[in-house]
Subunit: 206 residues, 2 copies
C-alpha cells in the first residue's frame, strides 16, 4: 500500500481498535483462477487471527496451508470537498480527496477441520460481538440444540492467520492546517460520518 509517512498509522492501539470495530475483512488470495476475495469477520487471537468459511467455499481447497493472503479491514471514510477547508477561501489551493482508515494484514493461512478450532471460531465471534450488542442477554452457543450445532459445525472450515506484517493508513488531512482539519471533521460529522470525524479529532500520539 502506498502510504506517505504522514498518513501511516503507527499507533498499535489505534490499529487494534480499527480491526476490532470493523472486523468484516476482505480476505484476498491468489488462486488458480486469479485474484479472489471473500468477506469474513476476522478475530484477533493471540498473535494471529481466526475465522471460518463455508465448507462449500472452494477457497480452502484452492489455497493451500501456508499460502500468503491479505486481509483488508476497511474502517471509516468520507469524500472531502475543497470547500470544507477554511484556507480554500484564501488560497484556492485545494482539490477533492478522500479520507479513510484501513488496515492491511499480510499473513499465511492454515486451515483446520478440527472440531475444537471450529468451536473456537464461533465462540470468539460470539464473545466479541454478541456481548457488545446484547450485553447480559447475549446469545450463547449453548442456546442452540446440540444436534443443530453439530450439523452446522460440519458445514464449515476454520482457519488461522499467522501475521507476517501489518500496514495501516489513517488518511485524515494531516498535511493540512488544524483549521482545515477541523473544518473537514465538522462537515463529515454533519453527514453522519462520525467514525472518521472522531479519528480526525484524535490528538496526535505523544
Amino acid at each position: 500500500m502506498y502510504s506517505p509517512a504522514h498518513f501511516t498509522e503507527t499507533d498499535q492501539a489505534e490499529i487494534e481498535r480499527l480491526i476490532d470495530t470493523h472486523p468484516l475483512a476482505a480476505l484476498v488470495a491468489m488462486t488458480g483462477a486469479g485474484l479472489d476475495a471473500n468477506h469474513l469477520p476476522l478475530l484477533r487471537d493471540g498473535e494471529g487471527f481466526v475465522g471460518h468459511v463455508a465448507l462449500a467455499n472452494a477457497l480452502h481447497r484452492e489455497v493451500p496451508d501456508g499460502a500468503p493472503v491479505l486481509a483488508i479491514f476497511h474502517a471509516g471514510e468520507g469524500y472531502v470537498s475543497p470547500n470544507w477547508y477554511p484556507s480554500k477561501a484564501e488560497t484556492h489551493k485545494a482539490v477533492p480527496t478522500w479520507n479513510y482508515q484501513v488496515v492491511h494484514v499480510h499473513a499465511r493461512i492454515t486451515w483446520s477441520h478440527a472440531d475444537k478450532d471450529k468451536r473456537r471460531a464461533v465462540a470468539l465471534l460470539t464473545a466479541r460481538h454478541e456481548k457488545a450488542v446484547n450485553g447480559a442477554s447475549a446469545w450463547k452457543m449453548g442456546d442452540a440444540p446440540t444436534d443443530f450445532l453439530e450439523e452446522l459445525l460440519g458445514k464449515f472450515v476454520a482457519f488461522r492467520l499467522s501475521v507476517e506484517r501489518i500496514e495501516a493508513k489513517s488518511k485524515l488531512n494531516q498535511n493540512r492546517s488544524p483549521a482545515d482539519i477541523a473544518g473537514v471533521a465538522d462537515a463529515l460529522s454533519g453527514q453522519g460520518r462520525t467514525g472518521i470525524a472522531a479519528a480526525m479529532r484524535r490528538p496526535p500520539k505523544a
Copy 2:
C-alpha cells in the same frame, strides 16, 4: 468469491448503486512483492472505470498495462445476533452471522500520463461527488489557480479499468423467513446501520 445463489446480487441497478454510493474501492493487484491493495475512489465511465494514483505510488510501475486487478467495493454491513430472529425463541436454530453487500470488479488496468486523462479523472470525481455534497456551491476545477492545478496533475497518474467480470453479493438473510428478516433489519436500523437495513427491506426483484 463464494456466493450461494440466494446471496448473489444480479440486479444491475443495485450493483451500480452500491458502486456509486461506496466508490472508495480496495484496488488489489499481484506485484513482485506479493498481494498489494490501495484504496482509491473509482468512477464508472462508460463500460469501465477511471481513477488515479499518486506518481509516488509504485503501483503504476509494478503493475504493467493489461495486468489483472480486483476492485473491491465494500457497502453496508452489520453483525447479526441470533436474538434478532423472532423464530429463534421457538426453534433456537440460529447462530451469529454477518450481513453485507459487496461488489467485486475483475478488470485489466491501463495507465495514462496524458493530461486529458488525468483531468478527466478529477473532473469525474468532482462531477459525481462534489455536486452530491455541495449542490449549486460545488467546487469546480476552475476554482483552483491554473499553476497549482498543473503542478498537482504532474503528481499523479490516471488509469482505466476494462471490466472482465463483475461479481456482487447481497448477504441479507434471504435464507430466513420474512419475520426474521424484518427483525434483523429493525435491529440494524436501530444501531444506525441504515444502509444495510434499507437493503434488507428492498422488495425482491420481480
